[in-house]
């Protein structure tokens, strides 16, 4: 069976090539969120392991996080003992990346997009730092704190959503003023 006959098959086109609607995404993401809470006891989160990743690298270079409050808790200590492939949240994050890659390749849409200019570099660095710091002190990101928080019927999720929107407002103004041509 020729490969091109697979990719031009109408089911292949519908499942892997033509874009799906946002509402489809909402439904499917919900299904897998519910699968997650049902089978793992917790909800979906992304930024949970990030601080631990930082610690692993820091420790590899001889640093120590032993005096840090964050890593002195039971869960903090446990996370330091793990490695990437024994850390569930890390494995899931890698899965998200590979899942997106898989979808992109099956649709024959993969293209490596280099950073275009210094403005993008600045935006990525500043944006990344802000997201990382914010997600840590707020116990999560758009997924863990907002999506999962609200869905788990926690008021923290709504508070997060409100202030994330405020931040997006400010961020939009900054973006237009400093980071667009």
């Amino acid at each position: 069976m020729k490969l091109s006959s697979i990719s031009s098959n109408k089911h292949f086109q519908a499942w892997f090539k033509s874009p799906w609607t946002y509402v489809t995404g909402a439904i499917l993401l919900s299904i897998f969120q519910i699968v997650t809470i049902g089978s793992t006891g917790g909800s979906w989160g992304v930024t949970g392991p990030f601080a631990t990743w930082g610690a692993w690298v820091y420790q590899a270079f001889g640093g120590s996080v032993d005096h840090w409050y964050f890593f002195s808790t039971e869960s903090g200590q446990a996370s330091l003992q793990r490695t990437f492939f024994t850390d569930p949240a890390s494995v899931r994050n890698l899965g998200v990346i590979i899942g997106a890659l898989l979808a992109t390749l099956l649709a024959s849409q993969f293209k490596f997009k280099k950073i275009k200019n210094l403005r993008q570099v600045g935006a990525a660095i500043i944006g990344g730092l802000l997201m990382g710091y914010g997600a840590r002190i707020a116990f999560g990101c758009n997924i863990g704190a907002l999506y999962s928080g609200i869905s788990a019927l926690s008021v923290s999720g709504w508070v997060f959503a409100l202030f994330m929107f405020a931040g997006a407002f400010v961020g939009s103004k900054l973006l237009v003023k400093y980071f667009m041509a």
Binding site: P19, T104, K111, K113, K116, Q120, A123
Partner: protein, 76 residues
């Protein structure tokens, strides 16, 4: 005479292609065509969506792996 304009947005991050498209389209006369070249999957979705809601005619063509041309005929 219907003019064609090209807007190269390759390599631009969200939401730059859409913002540039909105601004550029204002300069065009009705009947002109704007060709927006994108390689961002966000733009592939939100530029046509916006243009259609503004009642312009839109066509999208894939011109390479992950690269697209969005043809917008200014209709209003």
């Amino acid at each position: 005479m219907m003019a064609e304009y090209e807007l190269d947005c390759l390599g631009e991050a969200c939401p730059v292609p859409l913002v540039k498209t909105e601004n550029k389209l204002k300069e065009l006369a009705v009947g002109d065509t704007l060709i927006v070249i994108v390689d961002h999957s966000c733009a592939l979705k939100n530029v046509p969506e916006w243009a259609r809601k503004q009642n312009h005619e839109v066509e999208v063509e894939e011109i390479g792996d992950g690269e697209y041309e969005i043809f917008i005929d200014k209709s209003a």
